[in-house]
């Protein structure tokens, strides 16, 4: 940070300590083997982990997720055919139609949860990880990396897919519904995004920030 507050400092003793996220108990940090997890003995929360080549694996998975994200948003989700009429829907057309019908708040909610938050989360990850992979430090890395955790609960890709499936089943009784390319891309995207989250080890990224104190 450019203006370290004089009132606080990270004591060297505090560096070797961690506090539990859920119950605040202090632990002395001990080195872990790859793939090992340290848990709080009092409440069971995850304290810290060590993951093998976290940055490289997360970077690869995030790039794959970005491609799938593009496919999921370009192609139609469902094809609706009824008595010779056809209508396609994509993620964006759902948002546009809500907006056109005067429900702009609801359109915003759907837009943020299904498009904006997942996209920003992926872009923020790539912004931080790509330079780190090449041994550079991205500009304002701390702020951008902080967004990722803030965005996380609002990126609802997997919930969105379930909503699409419910719509699919509801309509398949009365009309012919054909799943589009985007539906399959979405399914793959969910798997890859979950793998991305699992591969990321935030502690390893934050430790890269140390020298600039």
């Amino acid at each position: 940070m450019n203006d370290p507050n004089p009132a606080t400092f990270s004591a060297s003793a505090a560096d070797a300590l961690v506090a539990c996220h859920d119950c605040d108990l202090l632990y002395r940090k001990r080195p872990l083997r790859e793939g090992e997890k340290a848990r709080c003995a009092r409440c069971g929360a995850l304290l810290y982990t060590r993951k093998p080549n976290s940055i490289e694996r997360t970077l690869t998975l995030a790039l794959a997720a970005l491609i799938l994200f593009a496919l999921a948003n370009i192609y139609p989700l469902l094809d609706f055919q009824f008595q010779g009429r056809a209508q396609q829907s994509s993620v964006l057309s759902g948002v546009r139609e809500l907006y056109a019908q005067g429900m702009w708040t609801l359109a915003m909610v759907v837009f943020v949860a299904s498009i904006l938050a997942p996209l920003l989360k992926l872009l923020a990850l790539l912004y931080v990880l790509l330079p780190l992979h090449f041994g550079r430090r991205p500009w304002r890395m701390a702020q951008v990396f902080r967004w990722i955790e803030t965005l996380h609960p609002w990126a609802m890709t997997e919930v969105y897919l379930l909503g699409v499936l419910v719509a699919f089943v509801k309509l398949s009784d009365i009309a012919t519904i054909v799943p589009g390319v985007a539906l399959y891309s979405f399914a793959a995207l969910i798997v890859v995004m979950a793998a991305t989250d699992a591969a990321l080890e935030p502690e390893a990224i934050w430790e890269r920030l140390e020298p600039c104190r």
Partner: protein
């Protein structure tokens, strides 16, 4: 599992950065100024600020929004000039009538059970912290974790409506219009998510800190 030191970070005057998890020693600050994490710049607090007041206010707001969310139509199927409004519950009933049991169960669970249980769980956690309860803190922490994790799944119905509205545009034959209930329902989900985020689970354990204080 490794044994912890017999002291909390707050007792040791160490604040855990909520963003990067670094521990920093808290020193008395001049009034009006704010401590920031030396590593990532986020504001530092021993506990989430005004956790109980914020969580209470948001939970109460969610209870109030819950009424229009369930009474107003979430969408209206207009066919041949005749409108058929659907609420959250009637939507589940339609699925059951169509014999779509697994789907009916899924929607019932995500749209009816989860929001109610989430509100009850938050209320219970808030009351227990307020009464400085020392009863089964670990189970209450698990309850909090579940509450925080399941909330998002209630958005299924909202996303479903956005798809239906875009697909069913058959002019005079049939169209689907979004209803005000959908907005109220989305608000319940979002407001409860904020309520769960404002609640600080460490408050559950703080009651164990001063045994003679009760």
């Amino acid at each position: 599992m490794n044994p912890g030191l017999p002291i909390t970070a707050a007792r040791a005057a160490l604040a855990r950065c909520h963003a990067c998890h670094l521990l920093s020693r808290m020193k008395p600050l001049p009034p009006g100024s704010h401590a920031h994490c030396p590593r990532c710049g986020a504001a530092l607090h021993l506990r989430k600020p005004d956790s109980l007041a914020r969580a209470w206010a948001l939970t109460l707001a969610a209870y109030i929004l819950y009424i229009p969310a369930n009474t107003l139509p979430i969408m209206t199927v207009v066919s041949m000039g005749h409108g058929e409004p659907d609420t959250i519950l009637s939507g589940v009933r339609v699925l059951i009538a169509g014999g779509l049991w697994p789907l009916a169960l899924l929607v019932f669970f995500a749209s009816v059970v989860v929001p109610v249980l989430k509100l009850f769980a938050l209320t219970y956690l808030l009351v227990s912290v307020w009464r400085k309860s020392r009863w089964r803190p670990r189970d209450r922490t698990v309850l909090y974790r579940i509450t925080e994790a399941v909330g998002r799944w209630s958005m299924i119905d909202v996303f479903m409506i956005s798809i239906l509205v875009a697909l069913v545009k058959l002019g005079a034959i049939a169209t689907i219009e979004p209803g005000a209930g959908a907005l109220a329902f989305a608000s319940v989900v979002i407001v409860t998510m904020f309520a769960a985020m404002s609640f600080d689970p460490r408050l559950i354990w703080d009651a164990l800190e001063n045994p003679d204080e009760r």
